[in-house]
């Protein structure tokens, strides 16, 4: 009984960390620009392919490849904001359709370039650790640790830098923030780039654990979406809380019943939360 419980908790928490990385970027982008970024999963996919190309094919050091891939995806995100999303500021539904269009185009491009084959990236670490009767794969643990480092870096950035302060201000009230001299022209690409970079880290870190293929982004995108509703769209602490809640709930239902039921339960929670408290567990009403 105890072993089963620890297994559920450990599995739950390791998936939580990746969900949180995805969800934070997603919620940041929504909080600042009011865009539902349906292309978030494709940013994850691009980072995975970059790691596959750099570490797998060119033989770079894995950790360097992760860093380069995440930064490149971040820059790409900022570019997307500048060129494609800027005309739709304040028009939520059109921004969402634009994100869908980008998602479709990126998926098809990846398919044309790489085909449907599932590629694998060599694992930098292998083996397992044993705690009592519980077995934890080392590579999963390493991903968890690196995710924690990235999350800590993000926290420090949002909490202690001027740009972070400006972003938090825009999430609370765009108009008042602009009175205090926060310029959307700078904050929007920065937020989009940062959100994309977090998705890039998630994709780059997961590349050796799962296989790399053009449609790999849809699953993490779905998780990010659920996490963000749980925590409240636009709420950064909510994304962390939502990630933990989803990771644990899924782990319980997937271990005890099966993954389809686990997904179904998470969607039921989403519907209930949207109906009862659309702003999520931690979100504030914006209107």
């Amino acid at each position: 009984m105890f072993e089963l419980a620890t297994k559920i908790v450990i599995n739950g928490l390791t998936s939580s960390l990746v969900y949180i990385l995805m969800a934070l970027g997603f919620t940041l982008i929504f909080g600042i620009m009011r865009v539902i970024n349906f292309a978030h999963g494709e940013l994850y996919m691009i980072a995975s392919f970059l790691v596959f190309a750099l570490a797998g094919s060119l033989g770079w050091n894995y950790y360097l490849a992760v860093l380069v891939a995440a930064v490149a995806v971040g820059l790409f995100g900022a570019l997307l904001e500048r060129v494609l999303f800027r005309p739709f500021v304040g028009r939520e539904l059109n921004g969402m359709i634009m994100a869908l269009a980008i998602s479709i185009s990126l998926q098809a491009s990846a398919f044309i370039l790489f085909g449907t084959d599932e590629h694998s990236v060599p694992r930098p670490i292998s083996g397992v650790l044993q705690f009592g009767g519980v077995i934890v794969p080392r590579d999963r643990l390493a991903v968890g640790l690196m995710a924690v480092v990235v999350l800590a870096g993000f926290y420090v950035f949002m909490r202690y830098t001027k740009a972070g302060l400006a972003m938090r201000a825009v999430v609370q009230d765009q108009d008042i923030a602009s009175i205090y001299g926060v310029r959307p022209k700078i904050i929007h690409p920065l937020a989009f780039g940062l959100g994309a970079m977090l998705a890039g880290f998630a994709g780059a870190l997961m590349a050796p654990i799962y296989t790399v293929y053009p449609y790999m982004g849809s699953q993490p995108m779905l998780k990010a979406f659920i996490v963000v509703i749980l925590g409240g769209l636009g709420s950064v602490p909510g994304a962390v809380l939502g990630g933990v809640v989803l990771g644990l709930t899924e782990s319980v239902f997937a271990t005890l019943i099966n993954t389809t039921v686990a997904t179904m339960v998470s969607f039921v929670i989403v519907v209930v939360i949207l109906l009862v408290k659309p702003t999520g567990l931690m979100g504030r009403s914006t209107r």
Binding site: R34, I36, L84, P87, F88, E92, L93, N94, M96, I97, M98, L100, A101, I102, S103, I104, S105, L106, Q107, A108, S109, F111, I112, F225, I226, I229, L233, T260, V261, T263, M264, F267, V268, V270, V271, L274, L275, P278
Partner: protein, 311 residues
């Protein structure tokens, strides 16, 4: 009078087309275009009230599974199963609409998306009724007026009838007082309510009629393919419907028709280069969003106005 004569002539011309062309492939494209015209029009209604329903894929699936199961399990005649399934979907839309329609904007999109996923996962999980991931195979061809619809031409006529019904009803709604009210809901709901209009009833009626159209299209789709699988009714159905409306133009039901005429044949014609077609599709959407937000309909309208200005 002049309008209805024109429409009648057009429909008559379209109806005899496959019998003249005698190309099964082109007729197949005709069936798909007809069905997607009706589906796109149902989404046009939702766009009109500013609430994009991502549950429409699941509603289409319920129509398909519903009609197929009523024929296969209960042995009901096709017309009864067809309307039964469509009305069942409408009833479900009414029930969930009572609570769902209070939610607006992107939250409504996300809510209906999650609800649709629950329905599709139910198709997967409830194997004894819905057949799981492999779905229902061997859905019988419908029998109408004592005659079994075997060939594609029969389905073409059915799909055409559905598209014409959807177009004329949506156009009639927009031209009526009802249309004026639902258009005002997206623009200024508070003002509409101040006139003593119970806006939620209008939203609910729109949602229900939209679901009715989707349910009917789904039912025909299932009998046409003779195979109903959960993956056909997921997230991409509503996305496709929104794209058709954006590219065709949302301001008028003609836009939905134009969008379907352009976008439905595309994947069928470029079958060998499927991914290039998807890429083209995505890029087309980006270009229209950025440079032609009024879609094809807006383009034609501007072109006509410019020509009249020259005269």
């Amino acid at each position: 009078m002049k309008y209805s004569l024109k429409l009648l002539a057009l429909v008559a011309a379209l109806a005899v087309l496959p019998f003249l062309l005698r190309s099964p492939f082109l007729t197949h494209i005709g069936v798909m275009t007809g069905l997607y015209t009706a589906l796109a029009l149902s989404m046009n209604l939702m766009l009109r009230i500013g609430q994009i329903s991502f549950a429409h894929g699941a509603f289409m699936g319920l129509g398909a599974y519903g009609s197929a199961l009523l024929v296969m399990r209960l042995g009901l005649p096709f017309p009864v199963a067809f309307f039964g399934a469509a009305l069942g979907v409408t009833l479900l839309a009414w029930l969930v609409g009572l609570v769902f329609l209070r939610i607006r904007g992107v939250y409504f999109v996300l809510l209906t998306f999650a609800f649709g996923e629950i329905i599709v996962l139910t198709f997967v999980e409830w194997v004894s009724l819905f057949g799981g991931s492999s779905g229902l195979a061997g859905v019988p061809r419908p029998v109408l007026f004592g005659q079994q619809i075997q060939g594609r031409n029969g389905f073409y006529l059915l799909a055409l009838a559905l598209a014409v019904f959807a177009y004329s009803s949506v156009r009639a709604i927009y031209r009526s007082e009802l249309g004026a009210v639902i258009t005002s809901l997206d623009e200024n709901e508070a003002l509409t309510q101040s006139l003593g209009i119970d806006s939620r009833r209008y939203r609910l009626a729109t949602f229900c009629f939209s679901a009715f159209l989707v349910g009917m299209s789904g039912a025909v789709y299932g009998h046409y393919l003779t195979l109903v699988t959960p993956e056909d009714y997921g997230f991409w159905v509503p996305v496709h419907l929104v794209v058709i409306n954006v590219i065709g133009g949302m301001a008028h039901p003609v836009g939905s028709v134009l969008g379907a005429l352009l976008l439905v044949p595309l994947p069928e014609l470029l079958r060998d280069a499927k991914q290039y077609q998807v890429l083209l599709y995505g890029i087309l959407l980006i270009v229209f969003l950025l440079f032609m937000p009024d879609g094809l309909y807006g383009m034609f309208k501007r072109f006509r106005r410019a020509r009249e200005a020259v005269k």
